[in-house]
Amino acid sequence: MPSSFPVSFDGARRVLDHALARGGCAAGLFVEVTRTSTLQWDDGRLDAATAGTDAGAALTVHDGADVHTAHVNALDEERLAALADGVARTLGRARERGVVHGAPVVAAPDVRRWPDAIPVAERAARLVAADRAARDLDPRVTQVALTLATSRRTRLVVDADGGATLESIPFVTFQAHVTAAARGRLRSATKADSATRGWEFLDEAAAIGLAREAARIACLQLDAAPAPAGTMTVVLGSRAGGTMVHEACGHGLEADFFLERLSIYAGRLGQTVASPLVTVVDDGTAPGRRGTSAFDDEGTPARRVVLIERGVLTGLLHSRSTAAALGMAPTGNGRRESYRHPPLPRMRNTFIAPGEDDPADIVASVEDGLYVAAMGGGEVDIVSGNFVFHCAEAYRIRGGRLAEPVEGATLAGNGPAVLRAIDRVGNDLGWAVGTCGKEGQGVPVADAQPTLRVPGLVVGGAG
């Protein structure tokens, strides 16, 4: 247990015991301390430097089917006691159970240099190098905005059944947003990378590489034609990352949507829901990935979950409550943005497993279509399965070759229909990072896919 952490396992158990004094069949305390520091580079200089510590606790007591929860952003004994008292008062009966003292588990991440301990000057040096690299790439680059966020999120999770975990998670996130201008046109592009690793994750070459890539795409867009509109064969390059699998399939396999019969996949476990070429995995244990941690925010160990195996739906992503409701084992996917939010089943690092085709052969197989090299954000309607995502970098395919770049392309489709339509899967795999939004909560995720061919996707564009 880090000596600096303000609440001990025993202290957490006392809060739980207090909360259960007037009834309740189960209870848990989530205590979180997040130290963040962000440097923002803009207009050729360090524009802003921020830092702070966000500390708070959330207490949850189950009373039959009802749940009573409260959070406070303080960790002193007085306010934690008030938190427990407030929840206990809403129950107002006699004690029904006590708190089991289980053996605590402390996770020890493999970190050489904790990112929250890196001096400002050392971090700022990355920004100086990245700014210069982006501007040197092309004279049409007019602005370079860089964000370097580092944090250490430590959370203690204790429940009345004996579970007790403590884990510190490092985060390093670098984002380059580059603007280019020519002939009265203004275009911008963003590239980012992020990991649950120490400062060693972001060496100078990595920062420069991201900034140059953003600059290259922004300049490319200056010469890009409007994307075509209509239905066509689309090749999703592995470099594009896994936004499609995240939107088209991942959300629909989060078990709360499944439990409430809201997901288009509800009731289809064991059935074929995708092309036999498609295997989908969510892996919370992948070392250093943005969605990785030893435990989830309910204290369940992270796992590798096979969601779809050769087209057959085999698994779901569970929090403790959805697993209990469906009579299944929790999968370590109960995640919360912070102590301010309740845990929900969420993706971590989600990907379509590589297949056997050479990516070049897949492009060569398309006479007339669209190649997506980089994706932007996306969104899905869970109930209908309809999704949309934006293409940050795309090219026409003509005669089996990549042709002119196009801009403003959006892909619209239906998740299950697209998964069934995939007819070529490459032997490569490319990752991207993001922050996934659900019910007002954002959690860090990564996603990946091999090169994929999808016939008959709706492409939105102004061309």
Binding site: G52, T53, V67, A70, V120, A227, A325, E379, F389, V458
Partner: protein
Amino acid sequence: MSAGPRAAVDAALGAAARARVELEVAVFEARGAECWCATGAGVTHARRDERGVAVRVWSGHRPGFAFSTSFDPVAVGETVRAACELAAHAAPDRHHGPAEPSATPVPQRPWQIDAGFDDVRPREKEDLVRALAAAARAAGPGVDRLRRALYRDVRETWTVATTRGLDVSVLRTRAYVSIDVAASDGRDQRAGGAAGWAPGPRLLDPERVGRAAGRRALAQLGARPVRSGRVPVVLDRESCAGLLEALSGAFSGLRVLRGRSVLGALVGRTAAAPCVTLVEDPTLPGAWGASPCDGEGRATRRTTLIEDGVLRGFLHDGFTARHLGGAAGGHALRSTITAPPAIGVRALHLLPTGPTREALLRRAAGGLLVTGLLGLHTVNPASGEFSLGAHGHAIGVDGDVGEPVDRIALSGTLAGLLGSIEAIADDLEFLPGPALGSTVLLRELAVSGR
């Protein structure tokens, strides 16, 4: 006994005096409650008790920012010291600095506070959730699943003080309901959602919100793709508000200053159709985001961004206002203690041009009524480009709302969108969000489907 908010303000100002830096301190206190339910689950009751201190310092015009969740004077002093250390690494800019006190006191807006807010018991809030769910089901027998019916309230106070003598506090109460449901007909299933708000729980109308969500889900059953082409488009009020919010970044004075807005060179020139007047008005009574002062403590003001199609100006905070000289600030948003305030909108809306929604639909015969948009967060405020997923209805030859349609991609640019507006209905809705919605008729947009 824990230290209070005034002690935190005094501690920050004292630490600034000792460090000989300019300072702005923002102190936040919020208490609130939530309850929600879903199909097959019980009711969850949640309570919230939060406080925080955010400080910005300027040391030789170099900015630094730090925050803490403690009002303890020692912790606040450490927060000021941390901000000073960060400022030492930032670039100086003489346009940085705290706000001066206003010549006239910043008024409280009584309509932002519900006097009966604290009288409402938890059981009454739970009843609001049940009323939401019941109203949604009453919309039709096809509404068979409840994703979440939610009630949320908050009483919050922000105090902003500066070393220049500014010291303002704003109290507001707010109650909010939202519901997401699904409907099915045996062959198809669709989602529908709606939300509403008021200064207090007893002023909410859960029946109206629940009914709207149920009707939206039912209306989309059996939706099919449309044929690709360029057609007249009518945006409903929610879609209009969502699109305005997504494109609002193009009006940020900071984006203009840094050459990242497509609108930067257009001041005084035509930027929209002649019928378009676009206003940001945080003083508008009844608007969700309305506030007497902004995140830097300056009095808010009504700013006309586009007038009769001509671009008149941008949104500024203190920094960009000083940079551009003569511009007024008052558009800094502070939504959390964990980040400095940033330029944003609170009540962005189009002024109506007159005809009714029905008249707009008749003028868009053969076109598309958009009732939902996906992917609004992908809109690019630099280039003004957007390409979004959409669903809605075909519009019949008499302007009647026809069969449901979906899997549509809508594409365009900010300039093209604003230039294509033909009319704005007189049906402004005060939605829970930073933009208000009106039904809008667009001459044409590129639509992708079959």
